[in-house]
Structure formats: structure tokens, C-alpha cells
Symmetry: C2
Subunit: 335 residues, 2 copies
């Protein structure tokens, strides 16, 4: 198992990415190929353990976070993200991890590997910290305007991913809307619901924003506009709540003692709401394995993303996804 890691993308330092990769390679049966500036990577790897598991591939360019994805990927042929997916295409690597521009990561993946058979448009899925375990929300930003058929395909792909990769049997799938009743939703949701209802998926109907955290559900489908707002809202809200709790406790003597005594437990609680626990966001619908990490990833986030990428690549998930897509598309056409 070899995972190609984009060592230049993102707002985190190359050092952070290298350290996360070394942790993954030391603790698990994974080889890592770092893709980035050869001089920097030679230095970074020089004094590191597990050098036999680590290698690098030099490249001369990087796609910046604010660049237009498709344009940048087409122009910068020797960018780290393009070279990483090149390694996957040529069979050197089995998966790609990047903390860079997520749009560019998806674009590079599609250009290099193409779409999975039967997929109209690939999506990006992301884990949310539900009370009953992680919840996978798809799409979180790749497709801002979606047709019902695309949303339905997101559901199929997420189901295959969760079943095969995380070994959860028959996950519950909900469609994000503004009320649980059949008739609640916008035009897009009303048409999509119909497709899910006719499918053999474990579809539980419409779910609401609050069900992302407490709905005893494993997959929630929405378009990339709504999903991106939900993702960023929940990240921002978690940070704000943690900051405000800290501010409140610091504000009094009793509070300060409480903060000191509860420190380990409060940190445990904060961890639940940090993206880095969930190992990044899988690209679903690309004909290959790619994981997008948060732009400001920590070493831990990079490590967890590499582990997730390795699981995604090793369990035949893509094959299962493709066969389920073929079946479901036939079914949709028959409806």
C-alpha cells in the first residue's frame, strides 16, 4: 500500500505534512510518497526514522488555495497535486492525500483518473461528529447546483463507502431538508426523495439540520452549496463555543479551578468536534482513491487522512461502488 501525499498544498507547513506522514508510516503498514520540492523534502526526511517506508517525488509547482481549480490544474502540469494523481494513475501509488485547494484536488483527480463508471459528477463527502458516531455528509462543496439524479448517486456512493470502508452494515441515509414530512423541501429535494424511495437503500426520508448531530443516521445527502454552509457553520460554531466556554471559565476564581480540574475532560470533548479526528474528506465518484484534508491540518489530521486513504484503497470499495452505481442507474432509468 503506497499513499502519495501532496506535501505542498494547503495552509499547513510542509513540516506538518511530513510529520503526519511519518507517523502514519511508522504505525501502520503504509508506504508514503511525498510530492513536493525535492530539496525541502530531502532535508525533512534526512534524519527521520522509517526511511524505508518514506520516499519523495520532486515537482516544481503548487496550486494555491485561492486559485481557480480547473484553470490552475490545467496550467500547472508539474504541480504537486497533478504529480500525486499521476503517481496513482501510473500504479506507483494506491491513493492520494492532499490538504491543498479542494476544488483543484477534485479537478486533478478527474483529469488524471476520470469518473467512476455511471457517475454524473463526483462529490466530496465529509464526516460530522454525531452523538451516535460519525455522520457522512455529501456533497460539501464540489457541486453547488445539483440535479436529483446526482444527489441520488451521492447516496449510492456514500453507502458503498460506509459499508465497505468503515464496515457499517446497511447505513441509514437521509435527505437534508427543512422538515421530516414528505412534502417539505425545495423542488430539488422533492424530486430526489422520489428516487431514494424507489431504491433498495436504507432511506429514512427527509432529515433536518439538527439530525446531523443527533439523528442516529450515518449518511446525509445534500447539494454542495448547502453542505458547504453546513460544514463551515459547524466548524465555526464549534470554535466559537469552545472559545466562549473558555472565556466564561476564566472569568472567575471558581471557574479557573473548574477549568484546571476539568482540563483533560474538556480537551477530550473539544477533540470530538475537531475535523482532524475524522481523517479528511473522501472524493466519491472519481475512478481512484483521493482524500482531501482541511487546509490547516495538524500532523494528526494528516496521519488520519493517510490511514483513511489506505482503508479506502485496500477494501475493494471502488469496485463495489461502481457495481452499485450501475444497478442504481438502471433502476432510475426504469422509474
Amino acid at each position: 500500500m503506497n499513499v502519495a501525499v501532496d506535501a505542498m498544498g494547503g495552509d499547513c507547513s510542509t513540516e506538518t505534512i511530513v510529520q503526519g506522514a511519518i507517523q502514519a508510516a511508522s504505525e501502520f503498514d503504509i508506504d508514503v510518497t511525498l510530492v513536493g520540492d525535492g530539496h525541502v523534502l530531502t532535508d525533512a526526511l534526512a534524519s527521520q526514522p522509517c526511511r524505508d517506508r518514506m520516499s519523495f517525488r520532486h515537482c516544481s509547482e503548487v496550486v494555491d488555495m485561492d486559485e481557480s481549480p480547473l484553470k490552475a490544474v490545467r496550467k500547472k502540469k508539474d504541480s504537486s497535486i497533478n504529480v500525486a494523481f499521476g503517481l496513482l494513475k501510473s500504479g506507483v501509488s494506491n491513493a492520494v492525500v492532499s490538504a491543498g485547494n479542494s476544488g483543484a484536488t477534485l479537478a486533478a483527480a478527474v483529469l488524471a483518473l476520470g469518473r467512476l463508471n455511471g457517475v454524473d459528477r463526483p462529490g466530496i463527502a465529509s464526516f460530522f461528529p454525531g452523538e451516535d458516531g460519525p455522520v457522512l455528509l455529501i456533497d460539501v462543496g464540489a457541486n453547488v447546483d445539483c440535479r436529483p439524479r446526482q444527489l441520488f448517486q451521492f447516496g449510492i456512493m456514500a453507502q458503498a463507502f460506509i459499508c465497505s470502508c468503515l464496515e457499517i452494515e446497511d447505513p441509514k441515509i437521509g435527505l437534508l431538508s427543512i422538515g421530516e414530512e414528505d412534502k417539505k423541501g425545495n423542488e430539488q429535494v422533492l424530486s430526489t426523495r422520489h428516487l431514494f424511495e424507489q431504491s433498495p437503500l436504507n432511506f429514512v426520508g427527509n432529515v433536518e439540520g439538527r439530525d446531523i448531530f443527533s439523528g442516529n443516521i450515518q449518511i446525509i445527502v445534500c447539494d454542495g452549496f448547502v453542505g458547504n454552509v453546513a460544514l463551515k457553520l459547524s466548524e465555526g460554531m464549534a470554535q466559537t463555543m469552545i472559545k466562549m466556554l473558555d472565556r466564561e471559565l476564566r472569568d472567575s476564581y471558581r471557574g479557573k479551578i473548574a477549568r484546571f480540574l476539568g482540563d483533560r475532560k474538556i480537551k477530550q470533548f473539544i477533540k470530538t468536534f475537531e475535523y482532524e479526528e475524522y481523517g479528511g474528506a473522501p472524493l466519491l465518484g472519481v475512478n481512484g482513491v483521493g482524500i482531501v484534508c482541511h487546509g490547516r491540518s495538524s500532523e494528526r489530521a494528516i496521519k488520519n487522512a493517510i490511514i483513511l486513504a489506505s482503508q479506502y484503497a485496500s477494501k475493494g470499495t471502488l469496485k463495489k461502488m461502481a457495481s452499485q452505481l450501475t444497478e442504481s442507474n438502471e433502476q432510475v432509468e426504469n422509474i
Copy 2:
């Protein structure tokens, strides 16, 4: 100042609504007319203080939370929500507060009072707990599919409301999208942005989900689908985070002591994220003052909603809103 309060709508008890109303009437210069079952209200008010400030109006029907709004409001002529807006129309009351079916509240308001001059479709705005003070998000569920002109009008109305009613000068307005850059967003956002840019409003451009909590902004505009998901997600997330923090702290001896010592401060922190602090959600675009409360409102939430309704009705906000709408609509037509 008389506020008509729907005493039958919502999942909270009539007792809760009556107590909230009594608190508002006792502490502020507000008369309250409760609308509901006369027998129940006679009993509830019998032994209460400030009876001179409290009155009731009997009605025989109620719109349930899961009824189809427009249909129910048209059919149930003598429902509490219709009778409450009837009091406003006839000049007995100056504002209406309801914790009932929010769609029915909006429908009853529009049927009784009509739309404000220049408004295509009224919206429901809701407060979010931002780090730098409350943020008003509009729309949170009244209009699931919106045209750019409607979103623009939401911005105008929210600005007039915030300026006049909360006395905040020149509030910053953002358009909810998936990135701050001009080109980020779905088709709806891209067209709406153009309208805001040409206006004299203090428009700061696109904002992201995270800016709802930490964006130093006072108004955020989005369609009712996205806004409803955001509202319910943040409510659900706050509840989940509070529950998880409590669970973590209870889990160890040190944690339990921390929980005991920090109790007052933790409660203070929790309060920030409870909807009841913000006094309900104003209907904007109706030719009269209406406030929708959470279906499971507490006494405190009802009290705060009545106070907000009284402020909204007493400061000439509707007139200012109407004149700004006329100006802005002319401007939009000239673009």
C-alpha cells in the same frame, strides 16, 4: 402598547405561554391579550398579579404544528393565530407573538394584513449568537426557492429592522455563500451579489457558514432552505455539544468537581446558545408586526419575544422599512 399572544399554538403548554406573558406585562409597559380557549385562560389568569394589564380573547380552534399552513389558516377561521392577527388588523393590538406553526403564522399574517408595499415575499429572520453580538439571518424557512430580487429585499428589510428596532447604525450585511471570493456561489448567489453591490447598503460581500458566529457582521442573507438548515443545525449542534461536555465531565471524579465548581459559568455559557435569549424570530415584509417563537419555548423565551414585538411595533420600524423598500426597488429596476 398591546401585544396579542397566541396562547394555544406550539408544543409548549398554555401555562408556559401565560407565565411568559405575565412576566413581560409585569416588568414592562406592555398590555397582553392572550388568544385561546376562554375557560383555560380564565382559570390561568384568575390568581395572577397585574390583571389590569392582562386580558384574553376566546377562540375555538388551533392550527397544529404539522398542518399545511395556508390550508389550515384558510379553513380554521376561528383559530388562535387568525384571531390574534384579527386583533392586530382591527387596531386592538399592535403586535402578535406566536410559538405555533411558523408557516401558519406567516400565512395568517399575510392574509390578515397583506404584504408591506414593495415586498415580493415576506421572510422570517432569526438571531444567531455571534461572538461579537447577535447576527440576524434571513430567511430561515419561509421561502425555500428564492429569486435574487427577493434575497435583496430580505437584506433591505433586515437592515431597517436592525437599525430602527435594535438601534445599530449601518449594520454590515453579507450574502451566505461557499467562499468569500466574488465568483464563489451558486447561480442564485452570483446574481444576488450584483444587486447588493449596486445598493447603498453596507454590503461586505459573500460570507461563509463560519462567519455566522465569528464574522463581525450583523445581517446574513440566504434563501429559506439554506437558512432553515443552518438554524436547525446550530440548535442541534449546541444541544449535542452541551450534552457531550456534560457527559465527559461526569465521567471522572475530577470532572465532577470541575462541573460543580464551574456550574454557574457553564450555565452562563449554555445560555448564550439558547434561542430563548433572542426573543423569537421577526416576520419581515408583512404589513404589521409579528414574532414567531420556537415551538418548545420557555417562559423566558415568550417574555423576550413579547418585549421584542413591543420594540418592533413602537419605533416606526415598518414605516422606515417600507420607504427603504420603495427606494431600493426603484434602484433595482434601474440596474
